[in-house]
């Protein structure tokens, strides 16, 4: 299995298409950081306008932690689309190239083959998120410094002490990895059914877009199905950035408002991943290779 994984990673990271996502993310993050560096105060004034009318803020609101949060909010909606470029191509791309039939005439079990493919795609997802972490967090800290993180939730504001932020980002990125892994699993599953990458890529993107819309809309009939959609749970990384308060409404440092929500969402995502991967392997084992 390790040998198969090495081969799959070798193929992924030697393929030019792999680097499209890295390039796109680098460009996106650079643009956001440049924009905020040039005009960040105006942006902060805009987003804090409701509060700045009535409160005085002393300190560096626009700091690396806030910039990273802004980037993640924007990016983690779009990164799934970039992940699907690789994940949804993982089997269909081989079929399209004609290499699938050659690979499967080698002495490797189909299950090992599929698992190696999924793990390779997972590692790609991990590396992509690591790259986002380096650019969005490390580089933002370098450019904008650090201070407390002030975040606006739906109806309240959370201020997280500077030295209480970093571990939350570690947690958030770990959770984001799980969320992106779910996207990988969706692409991986759909990839089995086509001999051309375009179909599964578009299908994966469409599912994400449609499910995200369903997850967002507060229509009663949609709200019944929202708990079952993986896109509803993908945004639970934000729960790392909410704190408990004591009876005096004072923040309890190091706390998370609703840790159970993170756990529940993580479990649901893991369930999605497991079901999709095993279903994919099951279907692939039964499928005839006609490409």
């Amino acid at each position: 299995m390790w040998k198969l994984l090495q081969i799959e990673l070798y193929k992924i990271f030697n393929r030019p298409r792999t680097y499209i996502a890295f390039g796109a993310i680098t460009a996106l993050i650079a643009v956001i950081q440049l924009g905020l560096k040039a005009d960040g105060e105006a942006y902060v004034d805009f987003i804090m306008s409701g509060l700045k009318d009535t409160f005085d803020f002393e300190g560096k609101i626009l700091n690396g932690y806030l910039v990273c949060y802004v980037i993640l909010q924007l990016l983690l909606v779009h990164v799934p689309l970039l992940i699907s470029l690789i994940a949804a191509d993982i089997i269909s791309g081989e079929a399209n190239m004609g290499t699938l039939r050659l690979l499967l005439t080698k002495p490797v079990s189909k299950t090992s083959f599929m698992l190696a493919k999924f793990f390779a795609a997972s590692i790609y997802t991990f590396v992509l998120l690591l790259w986002i972490a380096v650019l969005a967090l490390a580089l933002s800290i370098f450019l904008f410094g650090t201070d407390d993180l002030i975040i606006q939730k739906t109806s309240y504001v959370v201020q997280i002490t500077e030295n209480d932020v970093f571990w939350r980002y570690v947690g958030a990125f770990c959770f984001a990895f799980l969320a992106m892994l779910t996207v990988t699993a969706v692409g991986f599953f759909l990839s089995i059914f086509a001999e051309n990458s375009i179909g599964p890529i578009v299908a994966t993107m469409s599912i994400i877009i449609v499910f995200t819309i369903l997850s967002t809309m507060t229509i009663p009939v949609f709200q019944k199905i929202q708990p079952y959609l993986f896109t509803t749970h993908m945004v639970s990384w934000k729960e790392f950035f909410d704190e408990k308060v004591n009876d005096q409404n004072e923040v309890v440092k190091g706390s998370i408002q609703d840790p159970q929500k993170i756990i529940d969402s993580a479990l649901i995502l893991v369930l999605h991943i497991v079901i999709l991967v095993f279903a994919g392997i099951f279907v692939f084992r039964k499928k005839d290779v006609l490409s």
């Binding site: 409701g50 002393e58 300190g59 609101i61 909606v77 109806s155 934000k238 308060v245 004072e250």
Partner: protein, 229 residues
């Protein structure tokens, strides 16, 4: 019967006269005590207690220089303070040309205080009315309720300890009404149950508080003007 009526009227006049009595003398005495302090550097803890803000307590440093230079910074991190509220210190209340009118007495904690209403004579003043509760035995202001044109109404409660001789409080609590404040709207893509309008109204009707607990003062040792830039 007639005698009773005249006596009552006389008493009422006296009372009215008492209520409307000019308390300038008392105010001047309090002012004089406050004026002892030319400058100070204070350290303390700040806690913001607003229903829709989850903020941590934090260490602060305060600089003051006569007549009205005031600066508060959080040692580390971001401070969230009601606009204009915290910098309204007693001097700014007393700095204005005011008409000081007695308005009775009140007990705050276990301390008997005199209520004085200060009406600024300057029509352009931001302060509309200040109601001050003065501990006459120690010439200390225990409470101030200030109504401003721009920033609504604040209530400031002052608690004294070892620095009472300088009229410098150990703890100051600023209270304000959150009904005037807009609740923040976040573009958060959160799919939680949004709070229902009833809950939102509950939030709006609460009071917000900022508490500063001073741990030390360095008094009249000089403060550079550059600090306030």
């Amino acid at each position: 019967m007639k005698k009773l009526i005249v006596l009552s009227l006389l008493i009422c006049c006296f009372l009215f006269d008492g209520i409307a009595q000019d308390e300038s003398t008392l105010i001047n005495k309090v002012k004089a005590k406050i004026e002892q302090v030319n400058d100070y550097i204070a350290e303390g803890n700040l806690k913001t207690d607003v229903s829709f803000i989850k903020a941590p307590a934090g260490k602060i440093k305060v600089w003051f220089k006569k007549p009205d230079k005031f600066r508060l910074t959080r040692e580390k991190g971001i401070s969230i303070l009601p606009k204009g509220g915290v910098s309204i210190n007693l001097r700014s209340v007393f700095a204005e040309n005011n008409v000081a009118l007695g308005a009775g007495e009140s007990v705050i904690g276990s301390v008997q205080t005199k209520i004085v209403k200060l009406l600024p004579t300057d029509e352009n003043s931001d302060i509309v009315l200040s109601t001050i509760y003065i501990d006459t035995s120690e010439l200390l202001v225990r409470k101030v309720i200030t109504t401003t044109k721009e920033n609504g109404t604040y209530e400031i409660n002052l608690y004294y300890g070892k620095y009472s001789n300088y009229a410098l409080p150990d703890k100051v609590v600023f209270s304000f009404n959150t009904s005037d404040y807009k609740l923040p709207k976040g573009i958060t893509l959160e799919f939680d149950e949004l709070e229902k309008p009833a809950d939102l109204n509950k939030l709006k009707n609460k009071k917000g508080k900022v508490e500063i607990a001073y741990t030390s003062y360095i008094i009249n040792k000089g403060v550079a003007d550059g600090v306030f830039k």
